[in-house]
């Protein structure tokens, strides 16, 4: 018992002060990219051509965060990755950007904020993918992020869930289990596509074994880009979209 208390004192309090205080991630973290529309067209063309995910549109000078894996191959004069983790969007088209994402808090449905603003129960389904998204969703339960202080919890049964959080490119082998889970949830239900796999198939696009777009199966309400999304991106998106908190 004394040992437990001793360790507790030694380990101290570790929870992030966010959202009361802003949090700055390491400068090396590749978050929201900002695009330079004054950049030389040849460089833009090269970035578009070299992008392993074909996420850059050279003519429109935009990047598709639903396809991007944030690998940094394009980082340079045209694309500059900032350490801004606020990446959540309410519409697929918002993810195609030059670096300014719309305010997520203003996109949430009023009805949902009333229903889920104080308590949000989420069912997670892993549908293909590489388990990095799942791992970085799981850490929201660790003391640092401490998701439940916002009244948000991941639950075991779809019957208890208000929202469905899907990761992975939806392998063909997971399609029916995913649809069954969705069908088992009571209305109204929100759907969250987390990670570039669930949004666009991610690195696996083109494979015959995947569906590659969650929105083609069930209507998606919230997109969280990343490969995987940083836990702060997920935390920010959930709190902002469902609780309408001021962004930080």
């Amino acid at each position: 018992m004394l040992k437990i208390i001793g360790t507790r004192l030694n380990q101290g309090m570790r929870t992030t002060p966010w959202p009361k205080k802003p949090v700055t991630l390491a400068a090396s973290y590749r978050g929201l990219p900002r695009l330079n529309d004054q950049c030389d067209a040849a460089i833009i063309g090269q970035c578009a051509e070299q992008c392993p995910q074909q996420a850059i549109d050279a003519a429109a000078k935009t990047i598709d965060l639903g396809r991007c894996v944030f690998c940094g191959d394009c980082a340079g004069d045209f694309v500059r990755f900032t350490n801004d983790f606020r990446l959540g969007c309410a519409a697929r088209s918002d993810l195609i950007t030059a670096g300014d994402l719309p305010d997520l808090a203003s996109r949430a449905k009023e009805q949902w904020r009333k229903l889920f603003g104080r308590s949000l129960q989420i069912r997670q389904v892993s549908a293909g993918g590489c388990n990095a998204c799942e791992a970085d969703t799981n850490v929201l339960g660790t003391p640092f992020f401490d998701l439940s202080r916002f009244g948000i919890d991941f639950v075991a049964s779809p019957r208890h869930a208000d929202a469905l959080h899907v990761t992975g490119p939806i392998s063909k082998n997971m399609k029916s289990a995913l649809l069954d889970t969705y069908a088992a949830m009571p209305e109204p239900k929100a759907v969250i596509a987390a990670g570039c796999c669930a949004i666009s198939g991610g690195p696996f696009y083109g494979s015959e074994e995947i569906i590659g777009d969650l929105n083609s199966l069930i209507p998606v309400d919230l997109y969280i880009p990343g490969c995987p999304p940083h836990p702060m991106s997920t935390l920010h998106a959930l709190v902002t979209f469902f609780k309408g908190r001021a962004e930080r």
Binding site: G72, A132, T137, P143
Partner: protein, 488 residues
């Protein structure tokens, strides 16, 4: 042994150099080799485009070295699982599923990853015997898989694990996707092993195209692989603690795991180290900014880890649950061909870092095994010992680290035509191996991936025999296997 070709880890050799012998002799040699303690690293089929009716079977085995051997079959072939034992079972099911050629006499020939064919579960019948099915969607935030328990009361008589839910068609994707995307795919074979798998991929490309990696980059890669091991082992100890409802260490380990992920983020911009390892070296320049921060963090975390490990392993309520739970003795571990910490916990001494050192591992000290009685406690203690060993390795390397530059663009490289390369690395779950075969134009004709979980899932199933079903989460976590690494 004379028939086998001894090969080096990460050495490209002409396909024609791999001895191809008659099927009967192949089967006999492989059987004798594995029955005298040899293990299988790779066993797979390849169908050359020019000869659609012929399948070449490649076997890469390990004993004191790595050995390669091949044979050709034009259809079904006699099962090696039947002749030589269970360590072939998964490999032969994979061959049958991928190429439609059957290992005749295979005692457990069922679909491996595909779900578009019938699958019959083994059932136990009798009074009081009942069946429990779990998954594919589990209660927590976990990958999908289906577990079918045959129980008498609380006791598990048999557990069958059906996987394939995460199947993304990766091996084929390696032969069809544009070159620039391949490192991204390699990092997404299993995201928690992004460094391990991308090392195997990059070493294969480097061997094929004759790309040199300088010592500084090689050392940075090893630091990254050890940080990956640290993050996962620390996370596993926390999860084990959580599964016996001892909350404090679960919380502390969970937080400390994040500190290691943040070190990977510092090196690569990604918490899983994605985009860090690239053919030719590392994806971005590294210097004192990263290495000093790593040293500082390790100095801070080492006493914390000591304290939390002490809290966990001196709690009698914890050791009472860990001890003799999920027992896999040395004989069974050897027969199933288990690898990694789970195998070492059962007394098998194999560690690819020592046996087939890649990068700069040959210059680093090995680890000494502690308790190896094959239960949950041993699997936890092996992880604890490996954590402190890895901390030492990272510290040694980071102290001596030199600045390294980002690798040059490798996409224009020309891999040797009609060559084969096998790469082996000790990931945190155990032996990872990739095998790349090029065609006459130097394109990837066959890409074979083996995650350590491919060997170890059967070990988990065996560990559950005779256990209370309520101990499943604990046993499962003590193995912590990869679904996506298996499903590919």
């Amino acid at each position: 042994m004379a028939d086998f070709l001894q090969i080096e880890n990460g050495q490209a050799l002409p396909l024609a150099a791999v001895p191809t012998i008659g099927l009967a002799r192949f089967a006999r040699l492989i059987r004798d080799f594995t029955q005298s303690g040899g293990a299988i690293v790779q066993f797979f089929a390849h169908q050359e485009q020019a000869r659609p009716n012929c399948h070449r079977l490649y076997a890469v085995t390990r004993g004191s070295g790595l050995f390669a051997l091949a044979t050709e079959v034009d259809g079904d072939f006699p099962s090696l699982t039947l002749a030589a034992g269970a360590k072939f079972a998964m490999f032969e099911r994979e061959i049958a599923e991928q190429y439609g050629i059957k290992p005749t006499g295979h005692p457990w020939l069922k679909p491996l990853r595909r779900h578009d064919r019938d699958y019959e579960y083994f059932t136990v019948k009798g009074e009081g015997v009942h069946e429990v099915g779990v998954g594919p969607v589990h209660a927590g935030i976990i990958e999908p898989g289906h577990f079918r328990f045959q129980c008498a009361g609380e006791e598990v008589l048999h557990l069958e694990i059906r996987l394939g839910y995460q199947h993304r068609g990766l091996e084929r994707l390696f032969t069809t996707a544009p070159r620039g995307r391949l490192p991204i795919i390699a990092e997404s074979i299993a995201g928690d092993t992004a460094i391990g798998h991308s090392l195997c991929f990059c070493q294969a490309i480097e061997a094929m195209a004759g790309i040199e990696v300088d010592a500084a980059a090689s050392s940075a890669r090893v630091i990254a692989l050890e940080l990956e091991r640290l993050a996962n082992h620390v996370g596993d100890l926390g999860a084990l603690s959580g599964d016996v409802a001892f909350a404090p260490p679960a919380a502390y380990f969970g937080r400390i795991r994040g500190e290691f992920l943040n070190l990977l983020l510092l090196m690569s911009g990604n918490r899983f180290g994605k985009s860090l390892v690239r053919p030719g070296g590392v994806g971005q320049a590294l210097g004192p900014m990263q290495f000093d921060a790593i040293l500082e963090k390790i100095a801070e975390l080492r006493p914390q880890l000591k304290q939390v490990c002490d809290l966990l392993f001196t709690a009698h309520t914890v050791t009472a649950r860990f001890e003799r739970a999920g027992l896999v003795n040395r004989e069974i571990a050897e027969r199933l061909g288990l690898v990694g910490p789970c195998a070492r916990a059962s007394g098998l001494e194999y560690d690819a870092r020592e046996f087939f050192p890649s990068e700069c591992y040959a210059t680093l000290p090995g680890n000494v095994l502690g308790l190896t009685q094959g239960d949950v406690l041993s699997r936890a203690l092996v992880r604890r010992d490996e954590i402190f060993h890895s901390l030492n390795l990272v510290e040694t390397l980071a102290q001596a680290a030199a600045d390294c530059q980002a690798a040059a663009d490798w996409r224009a490289c020309s891999p040797a035509p009609e060559h084969l390369v096998v790469t082996v690395n000790e990931g945190w779950r155990g032996e990872i191996s990739h095998c790349l075969i090029t065609d006459a134009a130097g394109r990837i004709a066959r890409y074979k991936i083996k995650d350590p979980s491919f060997h170890n899932w059967m070990g988990l199933a065996m560990a559950l025999r005779g256990q209370g079903i309520s101990d499943f989460p604990l046993c499962n976590k003590s193995f912590n296997l990869s679904y996506c690494g298996f499903d590919l």
